[in-house]
Symmetry: C2
Subunit: 372 residues, 2 copies
């Protein structure tokens, strides 16, 4: 009988028992108590990005991808033109979403080992005035690259285009300040760096563009403008909310604030990242990205070149020692990923490295010389 | 310090502690343990409708409405024509969903105090061969009417049209047998009569129409065909699943099966309904529907005609005594609703009636003569 396994994944992730205990109550979705819970969550979320003056926040049922789709459907007019800055799998998904819903969509490709380039964006926008909105993934979880949000936002502002940011895996850990960084929409979810459980997303929408969003969405469920208007009027969600998930997020945010908010969370995740990096380096495992563009959220490692390596067996072995790793998502290279996020600390990361070492040994791969 | 209040609402509803305790664990969405959980839930759901031979079941993140929208988007071709049998608020919502997504949509209106009429449906279908799909709400929660699923399905089959059933508030409590009743899609959700927590829906799709569904949906998140194909291939959800909600549903289904499945659940809800009906009648409160068309799921009552009646005050008073009632949803009449579903029994319903009596007294309305 061991402890629950620790999730070293980009979400769902390991949450505190206190957060999970908040789900031991049933809430009436029409009740004032639950409305107050929703209101407190929304207020706290706006505080995280200093967005009370400039933005509203609209929660939405479903996974984070539902909120990304809803943001594009709600913010981009039907005759709009979306430019997706593409340096990874989640960028490609955003482009597929925009194309499927019938929005004109152009992809600006970049190397998945590099951040997107604001200069190239500026040139694309100058060359094509029909582009109405730019989509940026803040931290591309595919490889773990940190993209230059501020510089991209500045280019969009200078050229008068809207910006939609997928901040799924950065929100709460990396600084985002709506007073300094202009975005029309920014998307995140409950089960990531706020350390809630999965089941809902939320989208910040700039007040200045909000009224113009009415009628854009061809989906009722994903119409964030409709969700917003109803919620402002009634305090309630339009359709049945995931009440237990909302309660867990509320409790997670209380702990987030008590820990010291985003700076404290970034400090802990950075400590996790360092403990992981040092330990994995000692095992001879090489990260895919240059340190300067690596967010302390999720780290992609080259798979050992040893002939005995097989991800499924490696995963199963590390799992046996109490840790869940994550498969790689690069198209050309054999990699695996390790998350640094969740209700865990540097000690857990050191134990994770130890589990990886044992797993390699079990596979017959000598830790320290995994490519031999 | 009192017990948690009991939810007499159409969902979210009161769940067992055992169901909620299943949420005290974090699951990796990529892990074999979680895949097995998903597979067991899907298998059990198919067993509820005896659908293993004829249907597949596809779970979807979000509220039940998301699954209704996904069912229409996935099953109805882009040039299809939807006929909505309308006897209430949820029918109107389905029509709005179909229209918004660009499907041609016709509404066949009925009295909200009556079931829809299969004869009228047959005439409409004969008169308009362009109608490709019919949408039926099995139990219209707006008033609580039980609609004639079998007769509607027979008409659709005879005339060769597809049928999409919203069985949100009936699934698990009322008998649905896919061997006898032909439907192309049938939709329900976790937080209703299976007594799970809210946060996911699921759609049964007839195997014979499944392949033809590819490419119908203009939404990536709601494409049930895509979700199905990916889940069959990998055992995983396409996008982050609401892991804790899935775990709670699994635990709820284990209890559902142990209780004796759908017949036992119907028997308990019927006992709840009888206890409620007898008690409310003694208080002089009159149900809106004739008994023959009243499903034992949710009951609409005429509001007391007494001048001191006000729903918000009535709600607050009943709440103080431990029970959450539900507002009415009829357009012309002042009503309120009381749910009979959830992890509660006839004793709870008798206590609920007692709370209603006390609430009326608090408002200065004499129980027994509420219209005086």
């Amino acid at each position: 009988m061991d402890r629950d396994r620790i999730l070293l994944t980009p979400g769902p992730l390991t949450t505190t028992l206190r957060t999970k205990l908040a789900m031991l109550r049933d809430w009436g979705s029409w009740d004032a108590d639950f409305n107050a819970l929703t209101a407190r969550v929304r207020h706290s979320l706006l505080s995280v990005v200093q967005g009370h003056d400039s933005h509203v926040v609209v929660p939405l049922q479903g996974s984070g991808t539902f909120s990304v789709e809803a943001a594009v459907a709600t913010v981009v007019p039907r005759d709009g033109h979306v430019l997706v800055l593409d340096n990874g799998a989640y960028c490609k998904r955003a482009a597929r979403i925009a194309t499927l819903m019938g929005r004109r969509c152009t992809v600006l490709p970049f190397d998945e080992a590099q951040p997107v380039d604001p200069q190239a964006l500026a040139q694309s926008l100058s060359a094509d005035p029909s582009i109405s909105h730019v989509v940026l993934i803040h931290c591309e979880t595919g490889a773990g690259v940190l993209n230059p949000l501020q510089a991209v936002a500045d280019v969009c502002q200078q050229q008068g285009r809207g910006l939609i940011v997928d901040a799924m895996s950065s929100f709460g850990a990396l600084e985002i300040d709506a007073r300094r960084t202009r975005f029309d929409a920014l998307v995140a979810a409950s089960g990531k760096c706020l350390e809630g459980v999965p089941g809902m997303g939320f989208v910040f929408i700039r007040k200045a563009v909000l009224d113009g969003c009415a009628g854009n969405s061809a989906s009722l469920a994903m119409d964030l403008h409709d969700q917003y208007v109803y919620m402002e009027k009634t305090g309630q969600w339009r359709f049945t909310p995931p009440t237990h998930v909302v309660a867990a997020l509320h409790e997670a945010i209380v702990q987030f604030e008590a820990e010291g908010g985003q700076p404290a969370r970034l400090a802990r995740y950075t400590a996790n990242f360092r403990a992981l990096s040092e330990g994995m380096a000692a095992l001879g495992l090489r990260p895919f990205l240059e340190p300067a563009i690596q967010a302390p959220i999720i780290v992609t490692y080259h798979a050992p070149a040893h002939p005995a390596y097989d991800f499924k067996r490696f995963y199963a072995a590390a799992r046996q020692y109490g840790f869940l790793l994550y498969p790689g998502k690069l198209t050309q290279l054999e990699t695996f990923r390790v998350g640094c996020i969740g209700a865990i600390g540097p000690n857990d990361m050191r134990q994770a490295v130890d589990a990886v070492a044992r797993a390699l040994t079990d596979l017959g791969i000598p830790p320290g010389r995994p490519d031999a």
